[in-house]
Symmetry: C3
Subunit: 206 residues, 3 copies
């Protein structure tokens, strides 16, 4: 890596962890809506913030999921649960911040999952699937545990589509030897697409 | 393998992939009933067509699930999703075809899962359990994601029982050194039992 | 191990297997309430009695889950399903016995999961999480399959909290080189806390 790539890699790590924190807070907000206790907050925060990566690593079978081997991930998820337990994110600014973190995380996680699958030797199609699992798996499992049909199944502002586009970009740019650029492009396009879809109410045909 | 076994093996592979296609279409039909978009179709098709094998391979921990390493499986599942998205299977003939593919898949998948567990060194009881997981796991997970109590839990035409019988047959015939014959017997008996149960409304006592 | 530790280890194994049996019966009772057939009883008994350990071992990725390699576990789970299918546990004594087995299992499973994660080289925080997964994961999955928000998410007599306390005790005592003592302390404190919470209606704040 040259020095630009090092700086970009650092930024990608920040986006990754900020995404865990943001999604953990969103899990905690779902726990509050379901009137759960602090244990419920922590379980939903871990599922929301780390579930996708845990499922990806469990499917890849290249060792214990990174969510359990790099302590930063669990710290961030539990921090998010505790923050959501004590603070209700009702102000417009704080809600916009969460939406932004969530939107940045979609592409970041999709790219990370795709790249990890490619490095593990999988083909482009399974890599895209595992990129999408990384980005949307945690939210799907959180929804199921709260007895809701997962929102990614339809009508939710192209969250899964954003992950799909980001994964494809990563497959292309990674095959060109540019995984760091791939992550950056995936983060930006994923955030742009999911924020625009939310703003203009874009949905897929049913 | 002698030449008869090679022919039989080819047929077993065809039944396996046809089962993936048929179950993917069934997942897509469930997605249509729930009014999901194309992403929902693809997720449910993958869960229905490949979920059982993915869970089996994840539990066995002998490497990344074959659903991700052999590209044919994902092609078939996604093909099933796309077909179900554009075609509504309302004709009597097409519904009978799907029921037949599904019935053939039960025994085929149960036998494949049992045999893979035996080859991995597990005992006969875990092998039967993993055979059943292979055959019914995908449908169970699909039902849970759609907020339905899994139909295999009761009253659905002996689907799980067909898988159970097929798994036992495979344990016996595999221990006699006849895994290919075991697959054929399992496919035929599984299809016969589940079709007869459907025709005559057989259920287990509760 | 000295001879006292050997005796204690034997007792811990007995508590472990008795916990599987007790939780399998509880799974069967849930199956009866949902009017399932014998297949449903067996699936729910396996999920309740073995699900937590299966999830833990699948996440740890140190080989096929012990629930599939040590046949005693599946025997106990299936025995529990069959017993629950034929006997309805309505007498006060039998219900108290099940509550006691369940309470003893919480701490036992939390300690076993924590210790296994520590031995696999994980840090204290992931070890606590995996201890809790071992103790409460099976019940969570059982609840989801029956379309209920998992009871551990709130208001259920500190079951998850008991697992949390037991896991912490195991981290401390294991780091002092006393894993057997850790299991015993975890079993006793887990049972005491969950039974007291049930008796006095203790819940966590929401």
């Amino acid at each position: 890596m040259d020095s630009t790539e090092v700086v970009l890699s650092d930024w990608i790590n920040v986006v990754d962890l900020a995404g865990v924190l943001g999604n953990a807070v969103l899990g905690g907000i779902a726990a509050r809506a379901a009137r759960l206790d602090i244990v419920g907050f922590i379980i939903l925060a871990i599922l929301s913030g780390l579930g996708g990566g845990i499922i990806r690593d469990t499917l890849l079978q290249r060792g214990t999921p990174v969510a359990f081997t790099d302590p930063l991930y669990l710290y961030m998820a539990i921090l998010g649960a505790v923050v959501a337990f004590f603070i209700s994110f009702t102000s417009r600014t704080s809600q916009r911040m969460l939406i932004l973190l969530d939107a940045l995380a979609v592409g970041c996680w999709a790219a990370a999952g795709t790249q990890k699958a490619l490095v593990a030797g999988l083909g482009w199609l399974p890599a895209i699937i595992l990129g999408m699992v990384t980005a949307i798996g945690g939210g799907m499992v959180r929804d199921v545990f709260l007895m809701k049909v997962p929102t990614v199944f339809g009508g939710n502002t192209l969250y899964a589509t954003s992950a799909f586009v980001a994964s494809i970009e990563m497959v292309v740019l990674s095959s060109l030897g540019l995984p760091v650029i791939g992550s950056v492009v995936a983060i930006l396009s994923g955030a742009a697409l999911s924020l625009l879809a939310r703003r203009f109410g874009w949905i897929l045909p049913t």
